[in-house]
Structure formats: C-alpha cells, structure tokens
Amino acid sequence: MRHRSPSTFVSSCLLVLAAEFAVAQEPAPAPSEPAKPPEAAAAEATQRANEQVVVIEAGTVHPVAGPAIANGVVVTRGERIVAVGKKGEVEIPKDAVVHSFPTGHVYPGLVDAATDAYTDPALRQGNLDAGAALALDLHLRHSRDDELVQAGITTAYVAVRSQGAIGRGPAPLPVPLPFPLPELQGTPQDASAQGAAPSGIMRGQGAIVRPRHEGFELWEKRERAAVQVRMTNGPGPTHALQRQQQLEAASASFEGLEEFRKARTDHEEALKKYDKEFADYLAWHQKKKDAEKAGAKPAEATAPAPSGTGPATPPAGERPRRGNRGGTGGGGGGGGGNEPPKEEPKMNGAASDEQFEQALATLLEILAQDPVKQDPPKQDPPKPADAPTQGPPAPATEKKDEAPKRPTYPKAPARDPQREALLAVIDGELPLRVEAHRPDELRFALRMQAQRSIPVLVLEQAYGAMSVAADIARQGASVVLTDVLPNSLPKPYDTFDVTALPAQLHAAGVQFAIATGSARRARLLPLMAAAAIGRGLDAEAALRAITLTPAEILGVAKDTGSLQSGKLADVLVRDRDLFQSDSRTLLVIAKGRTEFEAK
C-alpha cells in the first residue's frame, strides 16, 4: 500500500478512536432482557407467525377447486394453506389455534378483478400515459376503501375508469409523481412525441393489491399488472361513425412499435460495442501506466483501434459532455487529455462506473506524481474545414498518436414509456385491458387484438358482449363484468341485460369474472354473483367468477382464488351462504393474518 500523507493517517486514527468511544457509550443491556436489535425481534415475531398453525372448522367449506365439504376444516401454517378436507380426516396439530363455526361457510378470499379503491378521483377526468403506473400513487383515500377487506376481498386489481369522453386534445402527460423517479417517469418531450393522439384512451397501468385492515399492500412484482385502454365514450349519445373514427385512432397508438423496438435493440447493441471499446481503451491506458511504473517508455505497441472507425468525426451533438477537449479530429484522447466526466449517462456492459473511476484516479495520480516526465502538449493538426466541432476549442494537450480513440457513447432513443408499455403488451408480458361497452366497440377491440397480435386481452364491462360471445371465446379473450345488478345501467345501456350476461358467457365458453368496479360496491360483490344466479348462472360458476377465475385473469391463480394446499391462506368465513342477502362476514384471513373478525 502506498504511503499516505500524515494528515490522512491521523484522520484515520481519529475515526477509529471515535468509533470505539461511541461503542463504549452504548447503555449496557438489562440483565433480564438480552439486547436484540429491532430487526431481529421483528424477524422473530414474523417467524413465530409463520409457524403458527390456524385451523378453521365450519359447517361447510367451499374450496372452489372442488365440491363443497360438509363439516370441513381448513388448516393453515403461516402464510400458506397446508390442508383442506373433512373434519376428522385432516390431521390437526396440537398447538393449533382453532376457529370453529358450526353453521358457518368458508370460502377462499374473494378476488375483485376491477376496483377503483385507493386511487385518486382526479384521475378519472384526466389523461394518463400508458406507461404511468397507478401503483406509485395509491393511498387509502376514501372512507369506503376500508370495506374491501371487511367484504372478504383479499386480492384486487386497481385501476381508474375514466368518466370523460374520448376526444382530440393535448397529448397525455405522465402521472404527476410525488417524487422524481427518472427510471419510471417520462419526460415532457417524450409525451409530446406522441403527437396529437386522442386523449382519454390510455388509462395507465393498473396494479394488483392485497387489501388489508386500514391499508393495503402491493402484490410483489405486480405493481404494473396490465395496460388500461378505454375504447368507449360511455352511455352518452354518439354516432356510430364517430365512434369508429375514435376507435381507429386508439388502434393507431400501436403504430410504430416495431420501429421503436428496433431503435431500442440497435441502441443496446451499440452499447455493448461501446462497452467493449471502452474496456479496450482503459486497458491500453492501464498498460501504459504499468509500463511507466516499470520505467519503460510508454507503450508504443499498436493500440487496438476502435473497430470500424477511420478518422473519428463523431456526429454533431452526440458526444458525451465529458468528451474530448483535446480535439475532435484524429486520434482519441491522449494521456490525461480528457477532463473528468461531469455527467455520466448510465452505462451497460463490462465497463462499470467504478472501474472507470478507478482507472481515471490512477491516471491522475500518475500525472500528479511525475508531471515532468509528461510530454509537452502538442498542437493537433488543423481539422478539416467540414469536420463538425465539439464545444469550445480546447487548448493543445499532449496526445499520443498511438492511443486508441476514445469511443463515442451511442445516443439513446428518446424515452417513451407509453411505447415501452405497449411493447410489453405485444410481447405478452402485460395484459391489455380494454374498457368497451357496446357490441361495435367490443368487435373493434377483438379485431385490434387479431391485427396487432396481442396475446392477452381482457374486455372490461362489456355490456354488449352477448352478441360477440362466440368471437370472444374463439380469440381467447377474457371478460370482466361490472354493474351486474338488476336495472343498474343508464339509458341507452338499459337494453343490455347485464345480469343475464354471465350465464350467456358461461354457455359460450368465455372466461369471465364478476367485479365491483368501485370500492363503494365492495360489499356487493357476492350480491352481483347472486344476481347472475337468479338469471340462470349456476351457483358453482358464480362462485368461481368472484374467486378463482379473476385470479386466473390476474395471473395469480397459483397463489390464491381457491382453498388448496400450498396456496396463500386467504380465507373468508360467513355466517350463512355467501349468496344470501343477509350473509355476514365473521372472519377474514389474508396471507395467514387476521384482517377482520366480527365482534
């Protein structure tokens, strides 16, 4: 290790002494309570909870994945279900906490496939970028948000349903965030690059949440769960041709995605190339430093030249700001000729920031120690007249002709969160959820799915789905129905019989879920399923429509939606059959935690 200055040594010693002093000042733990850091205590408590076995005995257990079980039990350990079966046939550990409901009914925690809980009501009127993640601005806002868990809803998909009409207007802006997150927030110029697209079509990205008592938690890795698109003007009077024009404009949002993808791919490849060239550049200088240490002349061995370059003339405006002050033409930066970087764009690949900083520090060190040995600065040969200049003319610095040319950082394509989101839809990483009401809007959405090859399409509300049920089934789209209550739709939607729609979709083989659409209707989710039963849907399918099927649509069926061993302990206990109007919630367990218990 190289000898440091005396002041540095003294500083280091002082730091060590200060640390020892601080430790000595810590109060000694009480002899009866061994000192534990808070994190360890919390971890211990969590582990105890994780190991806790809870048994729920009830008159009827409805697993959903199988037939109902009379006198059934559900056994959970920690966050997960470990057993479901008939009482007496399932082993129950001795230390289990037993909840007994002799006349009760046990269900999986309900899954609400569409709600506006925790969202900002202001977003219903504004425009949202397809890349805007609602998860960043979810809060417990409304007095009814807390009802989700009381209603037995343990998983919910949160999005905002716009109330405005689709119309020409200013380009959508990203959701205003409470704090800057450059990696998530688009820049104003990115939004304006979308041109005069119809407003109100893109509705951001919804999130999957787990409602809790007085709060919620985001489902891990599901903060961006789907891209929301609105392809309806609502029940207001509109002409069919006008609607068609607006729908065409909505489809146009998918234009240019492949070009954007190519630009992104090209940039990634250019970055890899840059990383390699820069690594070579650093290696050359390290080699030179080593040679100088050994007292040898700076290496005059052929330096690896940047591939594919002649006399470097970087395009105007594309060189990083820490670019080459030693000149713009001819060779690359000489030893020490470059200024320290002021702004460093994020680099991918092998040459990390740390490595570069280290290399640069070494170079500066060398220069500081033995400046005499450096060659005097040489004047660069005059540039050709048509060569673009980079910034102010730099003073003449020493530059070795043998030094490799410093590679040029490739220009990144303009950030476009909306296009990135839509690419994720095309690639099947995110579902596309389309709010469409009338049959022509639904047909358009299906046509768009076919034309754009959208793998996962979910149709929301879909009041007029009866006439396109066969098409929906054929294309494998799913449907999330809201407002499944008698005579609940305004004119002219009152011609659609929404309560009869579930039975019709079921008969047509369409995967569908029944959802509340609003936090205010959280308690009414079972009622909506009951209304569907009253219009011909069988009870099993109705129960599935508010449990396992929405879980499948949301992509979380592996963890919730039914009472099966291995799934999360999301359990709802009611005092009577779920579809009776006076059925009351007795207990709600979510991920093994008791979130609600009736007094």
Binding site: L485, N487, S488, A530, A531, G534, A542, D582
Partner: protein
Amino acid sequence: MKSSVNWGSWADGRRGQMSLIVVLLLLCAGSLRCQDLLVQAKRIVVAADTVLDDGMLLVRQGKIAYVGNEIPADARGRAMVVDYGNAVIVPGFVLAQSTLGQDADLGEGALAFTPDLRVAEAFDRWQEELTPLPRHGVTSVALSASPRNVAGGIAALVKPGKDGGTIADHELHLSLSLAQVARNPERQPTSLMGAMDLLRTTFAAARTGTKTGPDAAVLAQVLRGSRRLFVHADTYTELSAALDLAKEFALEPVLVGAGEAEKVLPRLLQQKASVVLGTLLPDARLQQLRLPATLAQAGVPFCFGGSPDQLRLSAVLAVVHGLDRKTALQALTRLPALLLAQQATIGSLRQACAADFLVFSGDPLDLSSAHVATWVDGVRVHGEGGKATAVPAAAAVSTTTNTLGGQ
C-alpha cells in the same frame, strides 16, 4: 224444478239446452276468471306473519277466496290447479308513490297550490310505463301528483294489466311537497318559507272555515283525518318544516323521500309519522343504505318507494345493510298498503284481497331467486304459468248445467 226466468222455455227444449251450454262455454273459454284457480307452491307468504308451507290459495274472480286449509273440498275439486312446485309465493309489491315518469301531466306548472286536482283524470291506461311494472313485481302503484307543486293533488291507485292499466281507487291521499323541486323561481312560492307560509295559511283557513271551495274541502278532509297526507321532504330542514306543519294541525304525515330521516327520528316517532323511502342505489352513502335498518330499529313505519324497476333491489340492499327480511318484505307489501289505506284489498293474500301475487324460485329478498311470474287480479301478466291441471271438460259442463237446472 222449472225455472221461473225467461230461459226456462228454452231450457226445456233440447235445442235450447245445447245452445245454452255452447254459449256458456264460449263465455268462459277466454277468461280464467270464470274458473277458480287453486294455486299451489312450497311456500306461500300470505302476510309477513302468516306463512304456509306446501300452501294453497283459491282464487275466484280475481280475489283470494280461501287460503290453505280453509279451502272447501268441493272448491278444490272444481278449480284449475296451478302448481308452482318448489316456488315461493308472496303478495305483489305495492309502490306507495310514483308519477311513472308523467311529471308533466301530473303537475300543474302555472300554479303551485292545486290540492283538488285528481291524478285519476290524467291517467293514461295505455302509457308504456305501465307495461314493465309486472316484470319488476309491482302489482299496485299509487299514482301521485308531481312533487313540483306545493299541493299537487289527489293520488289514485293504479294496477297494470294485460289489457292496459286500470284504476282501482280514484281517491287516495293528498300530495304536498316541500322539496327543492317545488320551489320554482317562475312562480310563487320560490322558497321553503314561502311554501310553508302558503300551506300554513291555507290549512288555517280550511280549519276555521274561512276558505271555501274544492281545494278547501280537500284540506278539510285531511284535517278531519278522512284523507291521508303525503309530504315530499328530503333534507333535515324540509323534514323539520313538514313535521312542524303536521304538529300545528295535528296531522300524522307520510314523508316521501326523507333522505335525512335519521336526523329527525325522535320527532318521527313522537308525531307518528311514516316514511316512503326513495330508491336505494348501490352507490349511495352508507348512511343512506343503513337508513331502513335505522328506521326499523327506531320503530318508525316505512316502505320502499322510488323507481319501480329498483324496488326489489332497494329492499335487497337494505337487507344487505342490516334490515331483517321480515320487515323488508313488509315494507314492500303490507306497509305501503296500510299507508295507502288499501290494506283490505292489497298488500297481503288474505281472504277477499285481490289475487295479486308474485312467484319466485326462492326467497324474493335473495337476488339468486329468479322471478318466475306475476299475477294481478287473478290473471298472470308476466312470466311462467306453472304446471296447470285443468278440470276435465265433462265435469265443467255438468257442473254448469246442474247450476242452471237448479235455479
């Protein structure tokens, strides 16, 4: 024994006998009313406190003739059996107040005070708003004057039917209104205090006899208690004003709307007021959704009103938010009939009541129960007819002949 009527000379002749039988068969062929109906179901809710399991009703000429075990054996033998199997039969829903979307014709726009106008005189039996009523389970409606007038007029009891609607009673209650819609800037009164002053003045004049005329006569009936008073009032201020007026003139009002009724609960009880609630919407405030349960707990009589197509859902929402089923069903049937002073004819399936009933696959207050059929005055106006078993034709003919021969 030979009959003494004119038909006797015909009945003796063979040709006359055959003609008589043919004529009678033709008369009865198109109408079920000629034939008794024996309606059977797993459960018949005659009234909230009277439930028959594996029950039967005998319907004769549009009315309930007998219930359950009271049905005579011979009547059972003659009647056409309509068997609804495992269904539940309840009395038809009574809507205690509605304009059926006819606000324009049921409210005099130029004058605010028209208590003597009669809704029955503006009734259109073919209006399309009557057609869907059976589908929603509504078998009787108190067609009322528009709440746009401070004193709108006298309501009428209307029933839907296969051949248009009918008026069952031309003279129901008087409708007053202290609601916001009654304050019209284009005519007096334009304010709540103006409306109160108008009502107070006119009622006082009617009481002292200084005011005469048809409108005063109607007010006098209300003051005597021979005609009920319905008052539209929603907010606390409006409800308080209505209760003040009722107290001043010793009235027991029926408050329509009463969205903030929980704020005047003690007064409602004290003054024996009743409430006709508006439509309960799924997105209403929790306080609103719990109001029926609150009123029931406090002992305030109430019924469901508002839009006919939301009547059942209103009751179901009330049950979801704490109202017990029995009270909820009463609030759809018996209670509104009581408020309309029609309990002798509608709101239950007791003897002599109109044969207005609904058939459900289960409890009507569970949305999972399908609405199977609606009958009004013994005629099925909506849905399925159940498993009908007709009486053999020969038995019917011989019965008819015997009846005539015996005269």
